[in-house]
């Protein structure tokens, strides 16, 4: 019995290591998108779990302090990426798998703002440069290039707007069909655009 328990434990810890590799990979991925790595690790861990987990459990599994998990979970919870299961105070948490709305919000919130501020600055600069040039000043700026950058910014905003309008399948069943259609349409697009 001791042997099988031992074997079972070893097997479990082996599995745990694999899962930890997953959480780390997701964490690294998420970190590159401007979030904190621990957010990705917590989310991935909860996403793979059959049952919701308490904060202490999460902290022990990931090998970090409870205080770190506390902050991370509250932030993730406010974004709707994890949800408490049960209505009592110390309810364990489970992951929300529908991440597309959150991604959309993030893109809308920060990418859009960055593009918009660029666009506004470019617009002002173009106007100012046009005035200066019409007054006969020798401006060292290339008006054509300024307008090119402005167009590129507007193009990016247009693409972002389109992206916001795109829906993704809620369940897994639609994914392969979704990607198949996307592929064929992109192919069509490529030949149509002549790129």
């Amino acid at each position: 019995m001791a042997q099988t328990d031992d074997k079972s434990n070893r097997k479990r810890s082996q599995l745990d290591k694999r899962v930890l590799q997953v959480t780390d990979a997701v964490g690294a991925f998420i970190e590159y998108w401007g979030f904190k790595a621990v957010h990705g690790r917590v989310w991935a861990l909860l996403a793979l779990r059959r049952e919701p987990m308490a904060q202490t459990e999460i902290a022990e599994f990931l090998g970090v302090s409870r205080s770190l998990i506390s902050g991370s979970v509250s932030e993730l919870s406010s974004q709707g990426l994890v949800v408490p299961v049960g209505d009592h105070r110390n309810a364990p948490y489970s992951a929300a798998l529908d991440v597309w709305p959150v991604i959309k919000d993030v893109l809308r919130g920060r990418e859009w703002m960055l593009l918009e501020s660029t666009r506004l600055a470019l617009e002002s600069a173009v106007e100012e440069a046009e005035v200066a040039q019409s007054e006969g000043h020798d401006v060292p700026w290339d008006l054509e290039r300024m307008r090119l950058l402005l167009s590129m910014t507007e193009l990016s905003q247009a693409l972002l707007r389109i992206l916001f309008a795109i829906g993704v399948p809620r369940s897994m069943e639609g994914f392969s069909e979704w990607i198949r259609k996307a592929s064929s349409l992109i192919t069509t697009f490529r030949s149509a655009a002549g790129a």
Copy 2:
């Protein structure tokens, strides 16, 4: 004459301020994509200039040290985002406006690797979990969700692969047509996918 010179100078510095706002905006945008802000500022400045600029000139305009510009320019140059004009040693630099190849390289280099490591980790974890479960162990992991995440990773890789295949117009003339076609195709796609 002193008056007109004064007026001219004020007008120029006003224009310079506008341009600085543009470079800062581009810098902030670029920074959010994991690059250094100063890279975006240098590139934007050179992109708007009619004539190529020497490093000292760039540093003075942006209000930073020459040493910072030296490193930034050499990195940008190695990526082909700025190019020296002339073959002598201290040649001034101009910006390359065709940034899409660089973006593609970046996405290929890092986003792909992050996705691939996630995929591999998930694959291993799924296999391990399947073995453990088939041996009758009570694994706390949800195999279905693991496979879901695996599919999501593969979907992302597929989309990324498609993105690599997309070309963008080299000149400005094609942009509006390009975005028009993209819009209509996405619309088609939305109704086809039933999102």
